[in-house]
Symmetry: C2
Subunit: 179 residues, 2 copies
């Protein structure tokens, strides 16, 4: 399973590609940051994010895109930019028919460190260890994107089982109605 | 001046095209709503908004796109969807090199009704009158999109004068430094 993780942001949008399956060592295929200029107008910044995401999709052909689910508890201005950058990433994936999964920051932290309240340093340290890197990826947005991809690979089996159970239940319910 | 107004939203995205110049009667060229299904996944909803906006840009070839500036004071879930739909509209415009302007809800209300705290009915009534329509456009999102376009046409002269003044000031300041 090859996953592109996206830590959305307008100034810095973290991207990282991880390949592997749950229970086996994972491999990092690429990591980076898409940057846009804070003083450019919003339309052009979104365009730069789109071009960046398209480049990563072209180069790595991921089967899934995992994007951080945005909450609005934080700073208002930042959240708007984050929501807009995440929309662009989801749109790029949807245009290619690539399934998009959203994971919350605490789901990601819990997946890679065991604690939903881990700090940036802890996430960076675990990403470094799990992907057998020589140093933590910088900036933190890049490490977070890899953590998102790892989280998706590890959560996917459980999510698939859940989806199958729901599908089975729905099929049975339909059968019940038509009988 | 031909302007596409966009009242962004995921469930209903209002769109309206108005042509005219400040101080002259305005003409409505089209109005509508782009709808997406609330139970579809977010990527596909954003894709549907993109296809809808592209269709409006293709048909009407506006010179400007005016989008409602999103604030996060309101309901959290709604605001995220609004921010994401607005990102898609801005992206579509930027890809074609069409300038995007953002206007706040109170700027739009003040432009068409004289009061920044006017209600939906008042905005609908003024849009109907200003565009010489037989009835207020429904739903409210469609009327709001037309109000945004009108607001842009009326504010543009002042905004252009401001931009020219800033450009002149910058040019003079540069001259001062190089002299």
């Amino acid at each position: 399973m090859r996953v592109l993780g996206v830590d959305p942001g307008l100034t810095r949008c973290g991207v990282g590609v991880v390949e592997g399956v749950a229970g086996r060592p994972l491999t990092m295929l690429g990591v980076g940051v898409i940057r846009t200029l804070p003083d450019a107008d919003l339309g052009h910044r979104l365009l730069a994010v789109e071009q960046g995401v398209e480049k990563w999709l072209d180069e790595h052909r991921p089967e899934f895109v995992a994007v951080e689910r945005v909450f609005s508890q934080h700073n208002v201005r930042t959240v708007m930019g984050t929501a807009q950058a995440s929309a662009v990433a989801m749109l790029c994936a949807a245009r290619r028919g690539i399934p998009v999964a959203l994971h919350t920051p605490s789901e990601v932290k819990a997946a890679v460190t065991g604690s939903g309240r881990a700090d940036k340093a802890q996430v960076g340290a675990m990403v470094t260890r799990l992907l057998r890197l020589s140093a933590p990826p910088k900036p933190a947005d890049a490490a977070d994107a890899l953590a998102l991809a790892i989280c998706h690979i590890w959560r996917a089996p459980a999510q698939n089982r859940l989806r199958q159970a729901v599908a089975l239940h729905t099929a049975n319910a339909t059968k019940g109605r038509t009988a």
